[in-house]
């Protein structure tokens, strides 16, 4: 069914997910300014339609591989906002137990491959995940998110080529927000669109307005149906724009103000609200109700995260190997403080 014909509750849900993402990130921005978040944070303001429109098609048995600007995908795939908030604040209650930063969190149960900072490296991994669905004769799909910037690394090529050869059920979502850190897209590649590359790997590339959640939804429908039916990968390039700086510490003076203003007019949330108001009887009271719900969720999440303990220092040594491997770390403080070497004790 085309997105515009979806029942009201589904349409409202798309809107809710975009709103939740934006509000969650605004909350993060505040916490960051209060010094509660130690590393960098990378926000998706203006890009919320992409996770909302794509994840709407996913089932519990599907697997996503998000990147640093995909907070919405974590939430929509089912990660508890409390747990995600705790992760971002480096708390023991987060999925990485405080070991890795920001959205570097995964969940086997929810089907979320944890991102790393190494851009595009997760594309071959997602292709491998998709390969197993094919091996097992399942109709699940894997979804790999990445930026147009990351798509210029070799791993993009190798991952796409592998996926194309094996016709695995993989959907590649390129979030083309026009900038890779400070580098504008014209300096990143000589063609306009990453989706043009899909053909050279033997699958289809779709180019959509990434600020139009309905268009994103429709493109994803084509890709997911194809993947589930054994038709192989699809690359969907969502054209969008990074409204904020690369991270919260980046003032992004290199992004022309006029350009920013132009794109602010295409804000995906405002646009979709216009559609909903006109076509689905969405009004201020519906929005207020959503905002109230979201605010309660975020209050609870922030409180949980702030109240959660930091991980104990020694827990840094756990989970390098399986617990029964008996491989001990070699931290001098541990060894020497546990059994101090007394003169003459060692036979040199």
């Amino acid at each position: 069914m085309a997105a515009k014909d979806l029942p009201k509750d589904k349409l409202f849900n798309l809107y809710y997910n975009m709103l939740l993402t934006r509000q969650f990130e605004d909350r993060l921005s505040k916490l960051y300014r209060q010094g509660k978040i130690f590393g960098g944070i990378f926000l998706s303001t203006g890009q919320e339609a992409i996770p909302a429109g794509t994840c709407a098609h996913l089932r519990d048995d599907d697997v996503i591989s998000p990147i640093h600007r995909d907070l919405g995908a974590f939430l929509i795939k089912g990660m508890d906002p409390k747990i995600l908030m705790a992760q971002i604040l480096g708390k023991a209650t987060g999925p990485s137990k405080g070991r890795d930063s920001f959205l570097h969190a995964g969940s086997k149960k929810l089907g979320i491959i944890p991102p790393t900072s190494i851009l595009a490296s997760t594309i071959p991994i997602a292709a491998g995940v998709a390969f197993t669905f094919k091996l097992r004769g399942k109709d699940s799909v894997a979804v790999s998110y990445f930026g147009e910037g990351g798509s210029n690394r070799g791993d993009f090529h190798e991952g796409c080529n592998f996926a194309g050869i094996h016709k695995v059920p993989l959907v590649l979502i390129c979030e083309n927000n026009k900038y890779a850190y400070s580098t504008p897209v014209e300096k990143e590649m000589a063609i306009c669109c990453v989706s043009y590359r899909a053909e050279s790997y033997g699958f289809q590339g779709l180019l959509v307005d990434g600020n139009d959640v309905l268009a994103v939804y429709d493109a994803m429908q084509i890709a997911v149906e194809r993947a589930r039916a054994g038709g192989g990968p699809t690359l969907i390039e969502c054209m969008t724009y990074r409204i904020r700086g690369h991270s919260e510490h980046d003032e992004a003076k290199y992004q022309p103000e006029a350009e920013k203003q132009e794109w602010k007019k295409k804000d995906p949330i405002t646009r979709f609200k216009g559609f909903l108001t006109e076509k689905a009887g969405f009004g201020e009271s519906e929005e207020e109700e959503m905002l109230k719900r979201i605010s309660a969720i975020l209050d609870e999440a922030a409180q949980f995260a702030l109240d959660s303990p930091f991980p104990p220092g020694e827990s840094a040594l756990e989970d390098v190997f399986a617990p029964d491997e008996g491989v001990r770390s070699t931290h001098l403080t541990i060894e020497s403080r546990q059994k101090p070497v007394v003169s003459g004790e060692t036979n040199l």
């Binding site: 580098t183 220092g313 840094a316 931290h331």
Partner: protein, 326 residues
């Protein structure tokens, strides 16, 4: 010249070398108009233009590979990798292509390029913005590896690296970027590669270190001196080539050795030095050689974890006590 930071010293080294030698150019992600993620190349684009300060896509393999191609053709490229953690994406170009070129061409094709990368932890960077990968490269024949710990050395070593006819991997401890500062001489100078520096002379124990650990060793020594201990502090500066004679002379004098490095303990630079000392200077050693280093785990993010992970001043003090009481 007023006091400048290590970061400014690095920028100045590149600027002066680019002014001195037209074949020197810079390439990397966001190095142009933006001036680099850490601002190390700020102003270079305005002064030298887009042909000599080249913004690249996110393509570490192409950054190093293209730098090698330019080096073959007579240029002296400085390739910036935004964080040392991402150097893995250019690993083949460094290890298999760059490091071996002189050897496999019978000496005909040198590869005079520098790969600069901000390294090491202490800024809550987590797994992928904290690594100290110098040992991987020191293990690779054909590469020189440098890790400065002061503004003066950073400038002089980077200039030496740019002028060197072999590839140099230049790691810049980001923890020190703004912490390490001093007045630098006005005139041009280099700090030769392969020469360690004795930062403090002493007779009881030799501490051999480099990079951010210099910072922690200095503060440890301040405390140890209050106990009337006399410590010799050696900053390796160059990991490869290793300045064996400075190390050996010191160890012959003190007979006790601590090796302090921020990298994982196992097979880090300290492991190599300990093996060398055991082979060459066994009869001079009065105590076991102690390594103060990080545990063999990925580098965790959350502050209590990172604090636990990182070797610190107290670890150095404990190690010195251990050899003194031995």
């Amino acid at each position: 010249m007023p006091e400048i930071t290590m970061l400014e010293a690095i920028r100045l080294a590149m600027k002066e070398e680019m002014e001195r030698d037209e074949s020197v150019l810079v390439l990397g992600e966001d190095v142009g108009i933006y001036g680099g993620a850490f601002r190390a190349t700020e102003g270079l684009y305005d002064e030298f233009g887009p042909n000599r300060v080249i913004d690249t896509p996110i393509s570490e393999s192409a950054i190093v590979g293209a730098a090698l191609g330019m080096a073959i053709m007579g240029y002296r490229p400085i390739a910036e990798i935004q964080f040392a953690d991402f150097i893995t994406c250019g690993f083949d170009q460094i290890v298999n292509q760059t490091a071996t070129l002189r050897y496999r061409t019978g000496g005909e094709m040198p590869a005079p390029l520098v790969v600069r990368a901000p390294s090491a932890a202490g800024v809550h960077g987590g797994l992928y913005h904290s690594q100290s990968p110098e040992a991987w490269f020191a293990h690779t024949p054909g590469l020189k590896v440098v890790v400065p710990s002061s503004a003066y050395d950073a400038k002089g070593l980077l200039k030496a690296a740019i002028r060197d006819d072999d590839p140099v991997i230049f790691f810049e401890p980001k923890f020190l970027y703004r912490r390490a500062k001093e007045n630098l001489p006005e005139e041009d100078y280099i700090v030769p590669l392969g020469k360690a520096k004795i930062l403090k002379e002493g007779g009881d124990v030799t501490i051999i270190t480099y990079g951010s650990m210099v910072f922690h060793c200095r503060s440890a020594i301040d405390k140890l001196e209050a106990e009337d201990l006399s410590i010799e502090l050696i900053d390796l500066r160059s990991i490869m080539p290793l300045d064996k004679s400075t190390i050996y002379d010191s160890v012959k004098k003190t007979n006790r050795v601590i090796l302090a490095y921020e990298d994982h303990k196992t097979l880090g630079i300290g492991a190599e030095i300990a093996a060398l000392l055991s082979e060459e200077l066994f009869e001079y050693l009065d105590t076991p050689i102690i390594r103060v280093a990080a545990p063999d785990t990925p580098i965790p993010y959350s502050p209590p974890l990172e604090e636990f992970y990182l070797p610190n001043e107290q670890d150095v003090i404990d190690a010195v006590h251990r050899v003194i009481e031995y």
